[in-house]
Amino acid sequence: MPRLQHLPFRRYLHRAAVLTFLSCSAVSLPAAEPHHQHDSDWLIFLSGEGVGRSGFERLGPHDYDSIGRGDILLTHSTDRFRALAETVVSTEEVDVERLQIGVETSENTLIWLGRFHQPASAWNTEHHHGQYLQTAITRPSIELWEDDGGLIPQHIAGALFETRQPLGKEQGLHVAIGVGAGSLLTPDGLEPLRIFKANSGNHRLSWTARVAWLPDFLGPTSAGVLLGHNELRVAASALSIFSAVPYIKQDIYGAYLDWNVPNWRVIAAGYYVDLAWHGVGASPNEHFGAGYVQAEHQLPKSFTLFGRHENSFNAGNSRFVALQTQTFDMRRNALGVRWDFARRQALTLELARTTRLTDDFSEYRLQWSAVVP
């Protein structure tokens, strides 16, 4: 690769690292006060992955996941204030994914400002970019990040309200509402407001919400409803079919379940997406649905077996889905095994059969993932 092509990567890497460090160290300044009433923490989620396919001839830009990826999480908290920065450095990108400053108004109730992951995603609010924490290598197609070809905006820049409150003696209620600037629709897909990078501006409103019931206030099991409204401004340079459409309204209605019992976990979610095209000569509204069920079973010797079924309806008739023909899986069946070894390291094998709008193919993935320290 010519040397010049490395420069932007290095510049972004340097800039992201410096700014992430500065943003966290800025709120760390009160560290001199007595009694250690402040805390900082950091984690790096690492992964390396290889993918192979059969029955799939055309290899587009989105047909390979990153070969190597590091997700750097920095957190800092004082009595009532919290700061969080999550930066992904991979062979494909360097991005500050989350940068939030929050105040804890009461116990387990936070108001955040900044760029955050929208709360109406069942998968992403659980795993974020921490590859090691998700059992499967891949994420469900409907939960993909914007720059991986996702169809639902996953980042909002604005305010996020989150609360987790007890219901009775053991149960709990989790409510999260995010509102702010959403994504643009560009020829490359959805583009959220980017931090430390140029933005084309005029991002319109997004708000999303989750209301979840927790059978055990402190446990990982939850079930709830997911709602979202995104106004996707169509960038001037977008595809010709959108040339007379200034923006598209996307409404999302969903439900999810994340059930954990000894040795078993089931995570399932379903989304109904309604799209309204605005502007001169706007086309009739359209809709599609997508969902998945993933079951995991822990075996002896730190092995975990998992399987996932993804499906969709009406996606083949949607012009919006057609934008992501190379990334959206209309149907996918995956089976895999994960082996946790050493301290916080795992090897995962995932085999899948996928149907997209234009292709059917089989896929084989092998991943090493870890978290330090």
Binding site: Q37, T75, R82, E107, L218
Partner: protein, 153 residues
């Protein structure tokens, strides 16, 4: 010859008893685990749910101040007692849960101490700190306040 043998046997038994009591003494002293805070801390009680919340990475606020959990990993036995009786999880599940909560909510994970001395020093110096230790290790320490027993034999 018999008398000399009897004396020798008595001496052997005495030595064995002393040796046994020397070994057994710490084990008897380590028969309970106490929930501890700094002597300067205004905290007077924390119930089981609050302790579990704190060590699972959720926030617990008292008098407008967020409490800080400090993990005692100074020896394997107290680690196991903590995992079984306080958070009721295997070590891998607990670690996974802490990582998830840190990633999800930006909550800092409980600081882990492998040195008992450093742990007690950190607790003594921080009125917001909450930890646990064998009762025998904190008995008579004027800088440490015992809230209650978390576990006993």
């Amino acid at each position: 010859m018999e008398r000399r043998g009897a004396v020798k046997m008595r001496a052997t038994l005495l030595a064995a008893a002393l040796a046994f009591s020397a070994v057994a003494a710490p084990a008897r002293a380590e028969e309970s685990v106490a929930l501890i805070v700094s002597a300067a801390s205004p905290i007077t009680r924390l119930d089981s749910l609050e302790v579990r919340k704190l060590f699972l990475g959720f926030s617990v606020i008292r008098d407008g101040r967020s409490l800080r959990a400090l993990r005692n990993s100074s020896n394997e036995r107290i680690k196991q007692i903590f995992l079984q009786n306080v958070v009721a999880m295997s070590e891998s599940t607990y670690e996974h849960r802490l990582l998830s909560i840190a990633l999800q909510s930006g909550q800092t994970r409980p600081v882990e101490f492998s040195s008992r001395t450093q742990l007690l020093e950190a607790v003594a110096n921080d009125p917001a700190a909450v930890s646990f230790a064998f009762s025998s290790e904190v008995a008579g320490n004027p800088r440490i306040k015992v809230l209650r027993l978390l576990w006993h034999d």
